[in-house]
């Protein structure tokens, strides 16, 4: 029995090892693409976004007004009932001021940080938030609990995507 042997392997490499070619590396990259069917509920959601409206669905059982809308309530596990238009205003539940891109690379000097937030949309059930971005606001001025309103792209630029809302700005 070798009680004392607990750690073995895990040979750390330095940047220098890589740069100097001391280590053999092989590189490969993939070029894959996807075309998603958006489904029944999200198709309606995206069509309404194109019109400048936010639509939710209501559960017949628990009466939750669900956003993003869905064809079934995951709590009651029944088909959802009516479609319900909700407001394009809401409340900031929480936010961040992000200085890195999606791939973890740093934003450049002078580039504005991303301002992601969870926004609870007025008219949906309490706590029903969506992730989006904030805009037309100084990062220092953002507060949890702040009321915000959607800023839409011009109608002819909308494509039926969550990005048809450019961002939410303080109300």
């Amino acid at each position: 029995m070798q009680d004392k042997v607990k750690v073995s392997g895990g040979t750390g490499l330095s940047e220098e090892d890589i740069r100097s070619g001391k280590i053999f590396l092989t590189e490969d990259s993939l070029d894959c693409a996807f075309a998603w069917d958006t489904g029944v509920a999200i198709t309606r959601y995206l069509n309404e976004l194109k019109k400048g409206k936010i639509i939710a669905s209501e559960c017949r059982e628990c009466s939750r007004i669900m956003l993003p809308p869905r064809m079934f309530c995951e709590l009651c596990f029944r088909p959802s009932g009516d479609w319900v238009y909700v407001q394009d205003t809401g409340t900031v539940n929480t936010f961040s001021i992000c200085h890195v891109h999606w791939d973890a690379s740093r934003i450049k000097e002078g580039e504005k940080p991303y301002l992601p937030a969870v926004i609870e949309i007025d008219g949906a059930s309490s706590g029903m938030g969506i992730m989006h971005l904030l805009g037309e606001v100084e990062p220092d001025a953002i507060k949890i609990g702040m009321k915000v309103k959607a800023v839409w792209k011009p109608e002819d630029e909308r494509t039926g995507a969550i990005t048809d809302i450019k961002y939410f700005k303080p109300l």
Binding site: M1, Q2, D3, V5, K6, V7, S8, G9, G10, T11, G12, L13, I18, I23, E27, D28, L30, F34, W36, T38, I42, Y45, L46, M66, L67, P68, E74, N93, T94, F95, S96, I97, C98, H99, V100, H101, W102, D103, A104, S105, Y114, P116, A117, V118, G127, M128, G129, I130, M131, H132, L133, P139, I144, A161, I162, T163
Partner: protein, 387 residues
């Protein structure tokens, strides 16, 4: 249903490093062989393998679990991969426990591995694909966003400050200096954490664990077999796990509901009624400093909103009433995702056997809990172990 008692009888790790020379299979082999050697077993003594590794995207090999089978000793054995994001490392133990507790197998190897450095330029980029393809991904989110959102909400709810969160980072990072597998060698102060580069407010560089390569393995055995292998078995007393909804923005982020359910499930099974009094060592999952505290609350080991107070009072120090991450955790040892959770269970195994060397928690600890967490802030697995 009558379930058999299951013990952990051996454990092994590789060093956690920024970039490893070894391939994922080689890392798995090192940890697995070390775990087998630690309890004097050979591969032919093992009945089945529970294997964990995180997204295929990190290794660029689809169905990576099947590819990895040789490294984890699973060749021609009943082997299955378990994958629940960051919770994989503890969930793989739950998975192995099922195999043995059910009576199906007498022994099970649990092997978890992660090599994050192969994904270029940064593993973070591959996490874009965990978000909803249509309603979220178009915003180009990254994981830092959602953790920063959660951290901000948690701090705001209880009036915690950045300094409060930094205290947790320092607690874990300083513990990690004593860990032989740790990828860190430098002491860290609260000022260092506060002054580190801002990634996504309120998350700064030292609030977050690094990307790492590494592997961890444990050997499980049914009661009579375990007693033949070792005179110091560490028993799996309770297991629990939960998946919350992927509509992560529709719940309030200040409290980990997924963990509340999983922890209560594990404690019920272990017959624990007052976890904060009965548990001697906690290894909450800590990819971020706030997350260690958030999870102490979800694990029912600290009253909600009072955790910083207890941390300041030394309650969670190595020599405190309830040591938090004596291993150093992900912040102090490193974060090879799936392997990190298993590393926590390895730590409890050594601590309860009194074999944790410099890291040994005083007072003959008898009961420990390890936990891991992942995906869209929605999944958690919990394992309670005892002697």
């Amino acid at each position: 249903m009558k379930m058999r008692k299951v013990a952990i009888v051996g454990a092994g790790l590789t060093k956690f490093v920024r970039r490893a020379l070894e391939t994922p299979k080689e890392l798995s082999y090192e940890a697995t062989k070390t775990a087998l050697d630690s309890c004097g077993l050979r591969l032919e003594d093992i009945d089945c393998v529970a294997h964990g590794t995180a997204p295929d995207a990190f290794d660029g090999i689809h169905q990576n679990g099947e590819y990895m089978v040789d490294g984890c000793g699973g060749w021609n054995k009943p082997t299955m991969r378990v994958y629940v994001g960051g919770a994989t490392g503890v969930h793989a133990i739950v998975h192995g426990w099922h195999h043995v507790a059910s009576g199906m197998f007498d022994t099970c190897l649990v092997v978890c591995e992660e090599k994050m450095s192969s994904a270029m330029p940064h593993a973070q980029g591959f996490f874009l694909t965990i978000f909803d393809a249509i309603t979220e991904r178009a915003l180009h989110p990254n994981l830092l966003w959602i953790f920063a959102l959660e951290m901000n909400r948690y701090m705001n709810r209880y009036g915690y400050t950045k300094e409060d969160m930094a205290l947790a980072a320092v607690n874990n990072k300083m513990n990690g200096l004593k860990h032989p597998a740790s990828q860190f060698r430098d002491e860290v102060t609260v000022e260092d954490v506060l002054n580190s580069e801002i990634m996504a407010y309120p998350v700064s560089r030292l609030d977050v664990s690094p990307v790492s390569d590494g592997a961890a393995a444990v050997v499980l055995a049914a009661e009579p077999v375990a007693r033949r292998i070792t005179d110091k078995p560490v028993w799996i007393e309770g297991v629990g796990w939960t998946l919350d909804t992927a509509y992560w923005a529709t719940r309030d982020l200040y409290y980990p509901r997924y963990l509340d359910t999983a922890a209560r499930m594990a404690y019920d099974m272990a017959g624990i009624r007052e976890p904060a009094k009965q548990i001697n060592i906690a290894e909450p999952y800590d990819p971020f400093d706030y997350k260690a505290l958030h999870h102490m609350e979800g694990l029912q080991l600290s009253p909600r909103g009072k955790t910083v107070e207890l941390l300041r009072d030394g309650h969670f120090a190595r020599d405190g009433n309830l040591p938090m991450c004596p291993s150093g955790g992900l912040l102090g040892v490193g974060n090879p995702i799936a392997a990190a959770g298993t590393m926590k269970v390895c730590e409890l195994f050594w601590q309860l056997r009194g074999e944790a060397d410099e890291r040994q928690v005083p007072g003959n600890p008898r009961l420990g809990v390890a936990q891991a967490w992942g995906d869209l802030m929605q999944v958690s697995s919990v394992v309670v172990v005892g002697i």
